[in-house]
Symmetry: C2
Subunit: 110 residues, 2 copies
DNA sequence: TCCTCAAATTGACGTTTATCGATATGACGC
DNA sequence: GCGTCATATCGATAAACGTCAATTTGAGGA
């Protein structure tokens, strides 16, 4: 049904403080790598690595223009991950937990 | 301003497939550890470790009752993490990126 | 008071991650 | 074509992570 492992990549990406900050920065619009780098105390190779992770999970898109690479949020993925987060944290009428032998607690079940 | 590292813990917790599944299970209501364990192919100590991580980041609450421990989602944290996700992914009028030397792109800035 | 059972903790392991410096790639201007 | 600049990739390293089996803790029942 829901692809946990796909979205886990996104959560893993957001699980790093600096990557969460990068996402926050990009939420205001496209930025080129050097602008992002300026804001952080990290090497260029480390930033590049973080951007790769953000891109690979789908949260961020890269657009190359000459020497520069511009990054921006992928709004589709953003909205998907929000939906996913809502889905796994909200009660479901037909949840698997509602049938048979789950959600009764140990007492009622043994 | 916003405490990235606090919420990064929550994302890190959700970044593991199995923990995301556990959250999904708990969204339908309280469950005791043994019920969760039944659903997974993992050792009891591994489950206990995952539950600890989920509790420590605030996503899940544990309630001990006799021999058993019942787990449930902490709705406050759930709502906070949703808000945080929205915040870092949506455009902000007074975003730090809107001032001075950011968001102009490299061309306009050097 | 024992024994049993649920859960947490410990210690070990192999894997993944974050980071860096160094190097490679590829675009631009001369 | 040659330096320079922006990024990406590589290789190394130390820390963090997921997992298990074994042990400990603590509650309940005989």
């Amino acid at each position: 049904m829901s692809d946990y492992s796909e979205y886990s990549k996104v959560f893993k990406a957001l699980g790093d403080t600096k990557r969460a900050m990068i996402v926050d920065m990009l939420s205001c619009g496209e930025l080129c790598a050097c602008m992002i780098l300026e804001r952080f105390d990290m090497s260029q190779s480390t930033l590049s690595h973080h951007m790769k992770i953000l891109c690979e999970c789908g949260l961020v898109k890269g657009r190359e223009q000459g020497k520069w690479t511009y990054y921006s949020l992928d709004e589709d993925t953003v909205s998907e991950i929000k939906q996913f987060l809502c889905r796994i944290t909200s009660d479901k009428e037909n949840c698997m937990c509602k049938d048979s032998d789950c959600c009764k607690g140990c007492d009622g079940n043994e």
